[in-house]
């Protein structure tokens, strides 16, 4: 397997949940024999873990109330109904 082209592409497909079973097996076999790809894969998995760990963002206090206060006024339909 060509490390730079094929193996790395398969790693990304794996990380996006788009790897077929056959390819997954091929990737696994390759990783067992290729330390540099192992390292690469480890770094990628670690990167995704790090990104996921930053995702605990909360909107500022009173965010919803501020949005509600800034909405355009409700349309008055009475006039048209008369």
């Amino acid at each position: 397997m060509n490390c730079n082209k094929e193996a790395i592409a398969l790693m990304h497909q794996y990380l996006d949940g788009e790897l077929y079973k056959d390819d997954e097996r091929r990737l696994r076999d390759h990783l067992q024999t290729c330390p540099s790809c192992q390292e690469h894969f480890h770094e990628l998995k670690r990167t995704t873990t790090l990104i996921k760990n930053t995702t605990s963002v909360s909107a500022p206090p009173r965010f919803t109330a501020n949005v509600m206060a800034n909405l355009p006024k409700e349309k008055k339909r009475k006039n048209y109904l008369r």
Binding site: E43, L44, I51, T54, T55, S58, F63, L71
Partner: protein, 187 residues
Amino acid sequence: METMIKQKIKEVKKGDQSAFEDIVSFYQNKVYHICLRMVGNSYEAEDLAQEAFIRAYTNLHTFDEKRKFSTWLYRIATNLSIDRIRKKKPDYHLDAEVRGTEGLDMYSQLAADQALPEEEVESLELQTYIHKEILALPPKYRSVIVLRYLDELALQEIAEVLDIPVGTVKTRVHRGREALRKRLRHV
């Protein structure tokens, strides 16, 4: 939850503005998250997230109820953020980056009077660092990475949010992830 949101959308469309409150409340963290990761500055992010909800409200009649509301809403938020980035002057100040981390620093301020355990401080520093590295990505890679790891959005859904082919999303996610791998490997 999607059913509750669908119901609320119907009520808003019928003219009940107050039903919109539950929609905002439910999505506020995610929409704010997108804006913050895209523009990096907590004040601007709040402003953009507010604008996104107001636009969603005023354009709700154009939303096709057969589709997923979150996709539509994230699209508004992402487009507004990208527009803002484009309008920004390229020579932005160093402290703009620092200000972008205020959303994170707030946690440490709120945490307690006593000193934080060391590992928490470390992880806060780490989070700030990662946030900056995401911000250092060009916007087209930044947007796919942010969406990919917000809610674990699938590639197809990201394609719908950004209105680009799924193949393009795939390439950008891969490149963005490689770029971050190189920047974060020594962490």
